[in-house]
Structure formats: C-alpha cells, structure tokens
C-alpha cells in the first residue's frame, strides 16, 4: 500500500527517470550515431539525428583497422581482473585489521591510506617509472597491474572496512573458542560471511581498473600486444585522421562486457553496498 502510486506520481517518477537517463545516455546516443555515420559526414551542421548513409559498417571495419582490438579487450579484462584479485588479497586482510584490531598506529595508517587517494598517479609517474624500472617490471602485464593495485587499495579498504565492522564479533570468538587460528578464521569465516561486501569492492575495483588503466599502461608498457582497451582505443584517434566512427563503435562494444557483468551482479552490489555503506 505504501508503495502504491497515483497516476501523477507514476508520471513524475517516469518523467524524472527520463530526464535522468537522457542526461546519462545522451552522450552514448551521440556516440552511437557517430558510429553509424561514414567518416566524411560525421558532423552535420545544423545538428541532425539521422543523416544519410548510416550503416553498421564501422562495427565490422574496426576489427580490421585495429586488428588487435579483441586482444586489447582481453588484456583489459585480464588486467582489471588481476588488479581486482590482487587488490582484494591486499584489501581484505587490511580492512579486517582496521575493522577488528586495536594496534599502535592504527589511526595514522588509516589516514595514510586515505591520503593515497589524494595523490594522483599522473604526478608520480616519473618516480613511479623509476620504481618499475628498478624492479624490472617494465613492458609486462605487471607494470600495469601493480600501480592499479596500489591505487585501488585505499578506497577498497575504506569501503570494506565499514562492511566488516558490522559482522558480529561473536562469529570470530566462537571460532576462536573452537580452536581456529586467526588466519583460519579470516579465510573460513570472515571472508565467506563478508562476500557481498567483497563483491562490491571487487566490482568497483574492476570498473575502475577497466576504465582508468590508461596512464600506467601507456607509460610503463611498450609492447603493443599487452596494451589494454583504453590505449587500444587511442589508436583510433592517435592518428592524423581520427576514425571517429570506428572509435565510437569500439568504445560502445568495449562497455558491453562490463555491463553484462554488472547486470548479473547488480543485486549483489546494491545489497552489499547497503551493509557496507550505512554507518551505524
């Protein structure tokens, strides 16, 4: 009953959603239209939605003009996936430590992790390059994964910590009484129970790594076959003449896998974030 809407409320809600989605999706409509147009009539003056000679040709030709496109997508998935997995390996124990233990320097360390958020990767790029070089990591997947991991850790810890705080302490105490070691408790009890929260962090991390792995990849990697999608996409417009239609087609295609992933996991995200988000 409380969720029963009157007709004008429906109208308002859908109208509101429409306005929101227009704002969110208009650029994608634009991108889609561009992807359908031939290169020499991309932009018409005055503005028109439908112009002559629209076709899906770009969706075919893009695979030829950037032959490694599929490879870049796979790389992106691989790099984002690795960042996520490695990130979680670092985030989960750290978030657990912050949520459960009192120790010297706790506040300081938490602040320090937050402040990693404040350092933008672009500024650190040169010293970071030296680091990667001295570790001999250049031109490998690791050179893209490692900085990705480092920069997702702080946010991950912050999000997950607030989730873990809500897991009843008794669960651990019970396991402790039952003789489980503390690492065993983390692995067998905490992680399974915190799975929704972990999923949220994983997905946020994955998307961040998928969409924003440009700078590190570009700077630390010189091997074309290892490049992720954003760098690959640059190949469409790093040219004398930008192949906008194919670039847009490729970008739209590049979003789809992550969207699918999200479709499957969105219930998880919402449920998980809930418990992680609201501090009580």
């Amino acid at each position: 009953m409380i969720n029963r809407y009157r007709w004008w409320e429906y109208l308002l809600i859908y109208l509101g959603m429409a306005v929101l989605l227009i704002f969110i999706l208009a650029p994608f409509l634009e991108a889609f239209l561009v992807s359908l147009r031939p290169l020499d009539s991309l932009f018409s003056v005055p503005y028109r939605f439908v112009s002559d000679h629209m076709s899906f040709k770009a969706y075919v030709t893009m695979w030829q003009s950037v032959p490694l496109l599929w490879r870049y997508m796979l790389n992106s998935f691989f790099v984002a996936g690795s960042v996520t997995v490695l990130g979680l390996i670092a985030i989960i124990p750290a978030a657990y430590a912050f949520s459960r233990f009192e120790f010297r320097g706790r506040g300081l360390l938490m602040g320090a992790f937050l402040s990693v958020n404040m350092v933008s990767g672009a500024v650190l790029i040169i010293p970071l390059y030296k680091v990667m070089q001295s570790l001999g990591l250049l031109n490998s997947y690791i050179s893209m994964i490692a900085p990705g991991v480092a920069f997702v850790i702080p946010t991950g810890i912050w999000l997950l910590r607030s989730y873990l705080v809500k897991i009843p302490k008794e669960l651990e105490e019970a396991a402790l009484v039952d003789g489980a070691g503390r690492l065993y408790i983390l692995v067998r009890v905490i992680i399974p129970v915190a799975l929704p929260g972990i999923m949220v962090v994983a997905i946020t991390t994955f998307i961040a790594a998928y969409a924003q792995q440009f700078l590190y990849a570009l700077t630390f990697n010189s091997v074309n076959e290892l490049n992720p999608l954003p760098v690959g996409l640059y190949q469409f417009f790093g040219r004398q003449k930008v192949v906008w239609n194919e670039l847009m087609a490729a970008s739209l295609i590049g979003i789809i896998p992550v969207m699918l992933l999200y479709v499957f996991l969105q219930k998880f995200i919402v449920a998980g974030l809930t418990s992680g988000a609201v501090k009580e």
């Binding site: 020499d40 009539s41 991309l42 932009f43 018409s44 003056v45 003009s65 790029i125 040169i126 390059y129 030296k130 070089q133 250049l138 570009l218 700077t219 010189s222 091997v223 074309n224 760098v231 640059y234 190949q235 417009f237 790093g238 040219r239 004398q240 003449k241 930008v242």
Partner: protein, 381 residues
C-alpha cells in the same frame, strides 16, 4: 641481436609506415647486430612518453619528437647532436634546418614537415558575390572578404582557432610571420612586442565578428569540420585539409595573406627523429636516423604520407605535375619561418594563446595582449 627501441607517434596504419618498415628492414640487414622495435604511441601522449623515459634514465634510442621540444632536450643534455656533413646539411632548405638548430648544432633530423596556406570556399565566395578565383592576398582583403561572406551568407567568413591547444598558436603565427613579425630573433632573444605583432593582433580582433561564434572553443581539427560543412569560408591549414573535407567542397588556395608590414609567409613545422643519450646505442640510432631521412628514403616517406616534401628534387616536380594543389605549399618554403625554438615550449604556447583568447573574448586590447605575452615569454626562454 640487440634490440633498438624506437618510438613513433601515431599508429601503424598510415601509408608511410610500410615504407618506413621496409627501410628499417634494409637497415637491419646492413646492421645485423640490431633488431629495431618500433613502438607506436598515440599523438598527445607521445612526446610525454619519450620525455618521461628519458627523464627516468631509460630513454628510447630513437624517438619521433616535435622539433619544438629539441631545445629543451638539448639544453638538458638528453639528446645528442647530429653529426651532419655540410653536404647533408645543404640538402635541406635553410628555414627547415632552422626548426632543429640551436646553438649552432642540429639536434634532430626532420621527419615530417608542413607548411600552411589559406583555403577558401569558392562556392561561398560566389554566393557572397566575390570572385571565386581570387582569394585574399592581404590582411585587408582577408578582413573585407570575411565581412562580406559573413553578411551575405550563412557561413562564417574566417575560421579562427582560439582553444588552448598548440595549433591555435600555430594559426596565429602564420599571420605573424606574414606581417614580418617574429617571436624570437636570430640571436634567440624574445622579440614579440613589436608593432608588426600588435598589428597582427588587431587583425585577429577585427576578424572576430566574422569568425565562427566562439573561436575559443575551436582548435584546428574542429575548424576543419566547419570547412567540410561549408560553415566557414576561409581557413589557414596544411595540405591535408583536402583529404578532410568532402570531395564536393570546392576550395581554392592562396598563400597566407600578407600584412601591411610583411609578405606572404608560412610557419614551418617539423617533427624530427632525435637520438637520446644514455641508451648505449647512440651510434646505431644515429645511423638509423640518417638512413631513414636520407633524401631518397625521406622523399618516399613524405610522398606516401602526403607530407610536404622536405627536400626539393625530381620527385617534387613529379608531385607538382600530378597534383598542382601542392604548389602554394612548396613554393612558400623559402619564405617561411621555423617554429620558434624556445626552452619552455608549453609556456610559450600558453602565453600566446592567452593573449589570443584575451583579444577574442574582448578582455584586453591587442597592444596590451602582446605586451603581456612578451613579458610572459621571457619565462619560456
């Protein structure tokens, strides 16, 4: 074989790349100790990457660089000068060599070269009642034609770039050189605050009403779109504009109009191959660079890519015969001026663009804009 790391800007799909690749194979055959790894880095990130690698002490052996960066690299001892014989030097037109020379040494071998001229839309000229076969030759004619077109047609008279991008400054410098102005004198001192330049800036100011609305939002690329849609009638650009507008747009080309205090000129821009210090393969890199830019090889590459040929010669004549539209771009070379060679290129770009934007937005008058820019340019030295 040892790997030799070479950074190229752009991507590997342009027509010149197979040509270059063939040449590299040839070179590798002559130098079996080396295997050349070419890394293609997108424009816009390319120089940053080469410089980052160099600053971090792990430079590529050979890098494709905008020549404007060479002075800064050279001053900081990151690149080594090219040991060209006099004969080799003589194969370049003097102004071209000017784009890579500092302190008497040559710091890079020109690889890509462009000159500019004024394109105008014949159809719009006709529509406005102007003679479609006679493009503007002077600042005054430019202004007058722009005015007429703006008033008589739907299109803007002049396509003006004012965005905070390097090519906004380039567009402006074409006019500066054509009015006898300069940014830097022969001794390397800033010479921007001159009557010539104030006059050129006046032209900009006067052109604003006849330019497309909001020039500050436009860089060269977006202006090319306007030209293609016939929404602007005149634009200073490189020869490539022909490829970037639909075939049915009928364009004429004249040299950049001359100002009252100068004569037709053009900004000469080159990109070069630079050999970095510290790769341990300097000699090989030098050898490869020379091999790739030797007259015949370079010409083949220029033709394939559709760049303005760096050197003259028989091939150029053939090109002109086949495509006369090249003529204004090639003829202007001797009268052209190199891109100013400063240490802090970005600072120069910012100063000049800020002046331009100030004038376009009507925030400062031309004289003041030029004066302020000249002061700021001292920083760029």
């Amino acid at each position: 074989a040892e790997t030799l790391h070479m950074i190229m800007c752009g991507d590997d799909t342009t027509p010149g790349i197979p040509v270059q690749q063939g040449l590299i194979s040839d070179w590798e055959k002559q130098n079996p100790d080396f295997k050349v790894e070419v890394e293609f880095v997108p424009w816009g990130q390319c120089q940053e990457k080469s410089m980052t690698l160099a600053a971090a002490g792990n430079p590529a052996a050979l890098s494709y660089m905008g020549s404007r960066t060479l002075k800064q690299l050279a001053k900081n001892g990151l690149i080594i000068p090219m040991d060209l014989t006099d004969e080799e030097k003589a194969s370049y037109a003097a102004p071209i060599l000017g784009t890579v020379t500092w302190d008497g040494k040559i710091w890079g071998l020109p690889r890509a070269f462009s000159t500019k001229a004024l394109f105008y839309n014949k159809k719009l000229f006709k529509e406005a009642g102007l003679d479609p076969e006679k493009g503007p030759q002077t600042f005054d004619e430019l202004l007058a034609d722009a005015k007429v077109i703006t008033e008589k047609t739907d299109a803007a008279g002049y396509a003006m770039a004012g965005a905070s991008f390097d090519n906004s400054m380039h567009q402006f410098l074409n006019l500066v050189y054509s009015n006898g102005g300069q940014v830097i004198d022969a001794d390397g001192n800033i010479d921007f605050d001159s009557a010539n330049n104030v006059q050129t800036m006046e032209l900009v100011k006067n052109l604003v009403p006849y330019a497309e609305p909001g020039p500050v939002a436009y860089n060269r690329g977006k202006l090319e779109t306007l030209m293609g849609e016939e929404k602007a009638a005149m634009m200073i650009d490189g020869h490539w504009l022909y490829d970037r507008v639909p075939a049915d747009v009928d364009m004429g080309v004249v040299p950049v109009p001359a100002g009252p205090m100068g004569k037709h000129s053009s900004l000469l821009i080159t990109d070069s191959l630079a050999v970095f210090k510290g790769s341990g393969q300097e000699d090989a890199a030098m050898s490869l660079a020379k091999f790739l830019t030797s007259p015949d090889h370079q010409m083949a590459y220029d033709i394939a890519e559709g760049y303005t040929p760096i050197r003259g010669g028989q091939k150029v004549d053939e090109l002109l015969a086949k495509d006369p539209s090249w003529k204004p771009f090639i003829d202007i070379i001797p009268a052209g001026g190199p891109e100013p060679f400063v240490t802090d290129y970005v600072s120069m770009q910012d100063s000049i663009n800020e002046a331009l934007q100030g004038v376009i937005l009507g925030e400062v008058d031309p004289k003041e804009a030029i004066e302020t820019a000249a002061e700021n340019l001292e920083d760029a030295q």
